[in-house]
Symmetry: C2
Subunit: 407 residues, 2 copies
């Protein structure tokens, strides 16, 4: 058995075989003419897995999809932006089911073969007439070319400034499979799963339980390692669909692991894109924590640094203010010995053995100012726990966007 895995980064990655997409503007978004209804169709039944928000207050489509995945026999995903269908009670759940049924009708399949994603304003009922017309139009627009992928990704967007896509391929048992992912999210990017929607599709065949394991593992190190504002949403969802259009039996062994690596890379690329596109962001922060007692401990430290408004504003101001970083680590709720900690900012050593290190502040400040990415490397001991975490800086523009935009 020969296995290779080669992540591919293209402006618009190719779609896996047997999938088509389409998106239209249905008028659900306010003051916008952008696409707001996206339909994804699989020509043959697909396995699906999902990872969802852990918020106690979760939206109707989350309730629906969580019940249906992992499983097999899925023929499509219907997505709308502009309305989250959250805090809408039993009517909201009925609307989500109807949304699946409408999509199923257009695709000639049953409503329970469809998964549903929504994002947008909380607490308003879904405008079902507009949605129905939008789903009909999206079905008529289904395609498998660049335009189809691009408009589908745009149809998920709320305050995102750009669509987010990533792709990769891997070869297993002589067949080359394609993985395509798209995501949205620029705020309400939260402490656990980012506040986001993501859909990853592949033409490989995968058993439901395997799809769920691969997705859960990938999400743990990617979408769960990104934060814009620390606010967890009611709608966070990542779906993974595998339709087997490449032919052959379900992946196993090395082929399955190759698929997992590409899935991980696609998710990481999308997660980083979300931090980079964080509302008002002028910098993306890459936080590498090493030497913690466990991966969870490392992530907790990284997240506390990522969510500190003082760290975020320091990066925005190109201020090599390591005291804010070290003190954030200190209140993460994870035990470590500060006297063994070591901090580098964009490669420059700033803190070691519990005390500051002499450094040229102007040089480090200039390196922050001149680069889109700020690299924070914190070692907190000699434990095995390490994590990579992405976040964005905090700017006045974030405040303007969120004081004036009614989500």
């Amino acid at each position: 058995m020969s296995v290779t895995d080669t992540p591919v980064r293209l402006p618009i990655p190719p779609l896996p075989r047997g999938f088509r997409m389409g998106a239209v503007h249905a008028g659900i978004k306010r003051n916008a003419t952008r696409e707001d209804v996206t339909l994804i169709a699989s020509d043959q039944p697909a396995t699906a897995a999902g990872v969802y928000t852990t918020n106690l207050v979760f939206a109707a489509p989350v309730a629906l999809d969580r019940e249906r995945t992992p499983g097999r026999g899925f023929r499509g995903v219907v997505i709308n932006s502009g309305n989250a269908n959250a805090c809408t009670g039993s009517r909201g759940l009925d609307d989500a089911r109807e949304m699946a049924a409408l999509a199923g009708r257009e695709l000639g399949v049953a409503g329970d073969e469809i998964l549903v994603l929504s994002t947008g304003i909380i607490g308003e009922f879904m405008p079902m007439a507009k949605l129905a017309a939008g789903i009909k139009a999206a079905a008529a627009a289904l395609g498998d070319d660049d335009t189809a992928a691009l408009t589908a990704a745009r149809g998920m967007m709320t305050t995102d400034t750009r669509p987010k896509m990533a792709g990769g391929i891997f070869t297993a048992d002589g067949s080359t499979s394609t993985v395509f992912g798209m995501a949205k999210g620029a705020a309400m990017i939260g402490p656990k799963l980012a506040t986001m929607l993501g859909v990853v599709i592949t033409d490989a065949a995968i058993y439901p339980a395997d799809a769920q394991r691969l997705l859960s593992e990938a999400v743990e190190e990617t979408f769960n390692c990104v934060s814009v504002d620390g606010h967890m949403s009611t709608n966070d969802t990542v779906l993974f669909l595998a339709n087997g259009a490449v032919g052959g039996g379900p992946l196993h062994g090395a082929g399955l692991e190759a698929c997992g690596r590409v899935l991980h890379d696609v998710c990481e690329s999308l997660a980083r894109e979300m931090a980079d596109d964080g509302e008002g962001a002028t910098h993306v922060m890459r936080i590498e924590v090493t030497g913690a007692t466990s991966r969870d401990a490392a992530r907790q430290i990284a997240r506390t640094i990522a969510d500190s408004p003082l760290v975020k504003t320091a990066v925005h101001g190109a201020d090599p203010n390591w005291g804010r970083i070290v003190s954030a680590a200190g209140y993460a709720g994870v035990v470590f010995d500060p006297s063994t900690a070591m901090l580098r900012l964009n490669g420059a050593l700033l803190f070691q053995h519990g005390a500051p290190v002499a450094f040229d502040a102007d040089v480090v400040s200039a390196s922050i100012k001149d680069n889109r990415e700020t690299l924070i490397e914190l070692s907190v001991g000699d434990g095995p726990g390490r994590i990579r975490f992405h976040s964005s800086d905090l700017t006045a523009e974030y405040v303007h966007l969120n004081a004036d935009y009614h989500t």
Copy 2:
């Protein structure tokens, strides 16, 4: 035994007997001519208690005071702003001890009879020559009038826009005692103890263990219930000194509890002042959570709401965006049933039984805009846990202050 307790609010509350204060500008703060060294002297030995940051990375004066309190025989407190003496290793600890010794020398007492507080930039060594001159000058300026109290409170300030003081009196066993408190803090106001310094003094006599209990209880419901940016500092400290100058034996029974109530009120007033003076704040948020399973659960929900940048910006924008509040409660990590939750914003019912309630958004928005305080009342069930929490909104001015100010 007759007991009364009457909280008093004055622009500048009177000092308890036997305490004097003074403050001078010693040049520790950058670009400022404001007072930066404060000295508090007790004419007779005082009991002292303290509550400190739980940050693993804590400043030298925290290490010093934590070792010394609770205890008796204290004759003064020396405070500087402009330099936190944090992340300064063993030299920092030597400097903190020397700071106490310098103050003791001026007051004619031993260095270990002095407590030390510092706030300001992290990771720079204390300018000891300037500090020594400042302590000498502050000792020469000691007084017990309004000017002494005002300058002393100003000497603690960093980015605070105004000094924070509160006072009260209580009568026990025929003697009337005075309680005076002052505090600083406008950012790095954090998830546990606020990032702050506070000193409360009284002329009552109190045993060290009682002083510690009263202070810990008061802090739990006041300074531990305030948040500006969720960032816990390395220097958080609240001290409580009782010198017994009123005469008579240590408080007990009802007298002690009366003292505790006034202490609580003084701390709550100072805590609210800190939120109100939060960097760049245009609103103070009062969050009342009721019906939780415990006080800690209620506080965790309140803090999660208070720290959400989306809630903070919504309040800034006078946007009655209850979805952000309810979803923040949902990810607080505390179990409750959203279908029993009820939310009021400035008195208006917005959410009940898991679904939105029709309300006049313009009226609620206007009430946010027209009032300095925004009241968020969230009931999450019928449990006994309740808390009052204070926070501030998030504004572009906060970002400007923290992107450009090197703490």
